[in-house]
Subunit: 131 residues, 2 copies
DNA sequence: CACGTATATGCGTTCAAGAGTATATAAGAA
DNA sequence: TTCTTATATACTCTTGAACGCATATACGTG
């Protein structure tokens, strides 16, 4: 196992990560909240730690785990290449919703001017190519 | 196997997805570009299709595969809960870089005003709050 | 010291995903 | 029809990740 993708593929690990969003937690706290056997928690925490998703601080016999940002950034970077793909999709939904709550929407113009509306990553899409 | 996370955990599948970003491709084209045995490509495409990452169009004996946006959005939604975590981190880096190549120290706005109804894959970080 | 708590690790088992090979299906082309 | 190209599927084998259980380590307390 290696990549950040493998790490987050495991549901229990994702649960742990989500739990740590709010604040750092000890192994026991995670164990109780997620109702997961302690060795399971420890083993997943080990994987997460070695992958850089979390780091631990020693507090007496406890170990407090907290999130680290880097791997999430890496995930986001990978996802970035697909953003144009679905931001376009979001736009379609937005246009739909805009039409929904636009009160006077009568006589839809055959060609509505696209509003400038600059937001989110690259707004230039389109380029047919799909034959 | 079920979740979108399991799907993208496989390196070959990620390669296929990345390949399809530029444009739709036939199985044979994918096979050649990725130097991957044809059954392997077909099997991964099947998984990707059933998970909604791609869809196929029939073109004579060929099948043209192209990306679909939804699963990527789902990934982005999951990632969203961690954004605050690392946007902070990015900000630190940005501030650093800004100081690097900003010789004249141009009054960077302390707080950008939020535009009405924000959306699109969130590019807005800011909002400190994290301790 | 002995004892309880908190966490980590070792071991055996199970299970399913990926790979490889062969083969099936389908659609042109001759 | 027969042949060739393009893609899908069936089957077997291997591997490795996750789990359960037992145990080791470490710290605090009496």
């Amino acid at each position: 196992m290696e990549s950040v993708f493998d790490i987050i593929a495991e549901p229990n690990r994702r649960a742990i990560l989500s739990l740590l969003v709010s604040s750092q937690q000890s192994v026991g706290e995670i164990e109780r909240q997620l109702r997961m056997p302690q060795p399971t928690v420890s083993k997943h925490l080990r994987v997460l730690r070695e992958a850089g998703f979390v780091e631990s601080r020693v507090d007496a016999q406890r170990r407090l785990y907290r999130l680290k940002p880097e791997p999430f950034q890496e995930l986001d970077d990978w996802l970035a290449q697909f953003r144009r793909l679905w931001s376009q999709h979001v736009d379609a939904l937005e246009r739909h919703l805009d039409r929904m709550d636009a009160p006077m929407d009568r006589a839809r113009p055959t060609k509505s001017k696209t509003t400038k509306r600059q937001r989110g990553p690259n707004r230039e899409h389109d380029n047919g190519e799909t034959k």
